[in-house]
Point group: C4
Chain length 207, copies 4
């Protein structure tokens, strides 16, 4: 059975790659005339720390989303309208990540940190929902999936994305009062996904 989703994967990969590379454009190069001493440049560069933080977090979050996308599509062999547009929704939200990243870069060290972190974590709630939607649509009809996939593997993947949802919702809820804690929760979740990704991958091959 031929895998039909190859070109969709390639297209998605390109969008992930562009979205992840554009993040760095948020860093502004200071004006030559405004910064006339080495000390002034250093202090300008140091003052940009919320940008470094926001860009790093977003880079690795998009990278992990790409790894997850890769894994889901390894199981999806046939596409239908539902898969095409659930995937479109994921890609739309992924390209959108750069904007909340920019907002966080600009306002994380101001009293509006809670607002921008809420927007940021809120976007990840939506992205998590769109991944769940894609897998829901794909797994409803086993003829769309890799022929030798087991029900166990289907369920494992489903749970893997589902447990992200309450975590992101918690982060979103916390961000209104404890924006730093909300970000830490997201980072911990990503580290967990990163560490578990090798194991899950291993299981995929076993089952």
């Amino acid at each position: 059975m031929e895998k039909e989703t190859v070109r969709m994967e390639g297209f998605s990969d390109a969008i992930f790659a562009i979205a992840i590379t554009l993040l760095v454009l948020d860093l502004h190069i200071p004006d030559k005339d405004a910064l006339t001493s080495t000390t002034a440049i250093i202090s300008y560069l140091k003052g940009q720390w919320p940008s470094y933080l926001a860009i790093s977090i977003s880079f690795f979050s998009i990278y992990i989303m790409w790894v997850n996308h890769h894994k889901l599509f390894k199981q999806i062999y046939v596409r239908n309208t539902g898969i095409t547009f659930a995937n479109g929704l994921i890609l739309f939200l992924v390209t959108a990540v750069s904007y909340p990243t920019g907002l966080m870069a600009r306002f994380f060290d101001t009293p509006s940190a809670n607002l921008v972190v809420a927007i940021y974590t809120g976007l990840f709630v939506l992205i998590n929902l769109s991944y769940n939607l894609l897998w829901y649509i794909a797994s409803r009809d086993k003829t769309l999936l890799r022929p030798d996939i087991t029900n166990d593997a289907i369920k494992k993947i489903k749970l893997n994305y589902l447990y992200g949802l309450p975590t992101y919702c918690l982060a979103f809820g916390l961000s209104f009062n404890y924006p730093t804690a909300a970000l830490i929760i997201c980072v911990v979740l990503w580290v967990f996904w990163a560490l578990s990704s090798g194991r899950i991958h291993h299981n995929e091959n076993l089952v």
Copy 2:
């Protein structure tokens, strides 16, 4: 028979992917010093609604164009000069989408809405013409197509793109007086294409 158009598809995919990802760059991140309160940021973000509208519409319209491009090229196995340059024309117009999107984002909530929507819908008239041109060139010479394609399938594809033309022309005509109605017509057409895309795909495999 080897499919000769694989590298052309890859190149086109990359252009679609970049064009669709660059749309979000139209969103400006407000200046730190200009917005000193959370309320000010919220009201700034709310005021950008025409941008959200324009970017969302353009994202899904380019996505549907990509799906259609994918489908056409599944049928085209051999390329000639005509196909190469009809495809070049499509890609040129697709990369251009971001500019009318930006104009619409800036002026949709001003008295100039009709002008910017007319430019926007006018571009889609041109894109539709370029898709029709590509299929006209490809289908004139059956040696360029997938060997087992039927005349029925060729005609079905042709009609599928042709009926878009009067719809886009209607939207273009309406935009001078009823810009919102013109946009709604475009969105309805895209939803229709999206919903019918699964079915058409199914037919392709049957015929």
Copy 3:
């Protein structure tokens, strides 16, 4: 014999695709507050004609370069250091196209038109030289090429790129006094290449 240059082609395609898509970013979206009437927007958009001209010319010139790149690499099966870096030189110059395009967009309707057209055509002289260099390196050692390529085909490709050189040099020379004529020469050369590309491709398969 396996084709070793597939990943190099993919990488080059991506660079061509990005370079061609970034051209449109040169168009600036007018400021909402600066243009308060529909007439003002129309006159602003009309005043941008040198941008439309420069972007269109550059789009199709990069597109034709990509077609040519594609054709050359269809013949190159093995890479060595020389090919890797001649290709790097081509890609470097291709990514550079956007800057002279932007200069031309800004200054073609000023008395400095000759300077910006000279820079523009000068870049194409360099690009032509880099294509000639790539083919010179590749064709020196027939073990790098498609196993069944004939000496005739090698020579035909060589001549195809070589005759571009005097034409570009003529355009470059003319641009100091007749910038419009210089651009027309470039466009005529590209149309010629475009029209001959089908034929050359046909020959490739015959020989």
Copy 4:
């Protein structure tokens, strides 16, 4: 044995391609009204020489990194979490190159040259470490590698990246006092890598 890392290579290639193409965006197109004579434009363009220098150096350094990435992944057949994230680290640092490039473009002809060159060379120290990390992780477990790779080839690749480290550290150290010398060391190292790349590749096939 199937090569599992194909999609990771494609994704990495796309990021390298975008990062390398975005470099040119650092060149600013002068304002029409600010430069009213051809002489003024010429002097503006000449004054941008640090940008030309920085962009050229960065272009070829990313290009050589891509060649090296390509070579490493030709040997890596199976991915695990370590490889996925060491690769993510490389990609993160590669996308970051544009920022120190921009800083160097702006400040290389000012008394702050040493600072910006130190940041620039410092980034290459980190990139070199991330390549060493990737190969360390991959070569620790021979089941991840191309089945017929020899211990000799593994060691040769390791040494090839390791000797870059002291060179970059030297460049980094020198940049605080002799920024130009530091840049020359980097360029010499890249020329050396470029020239040796054909030979190494040849060895890969022999061993």
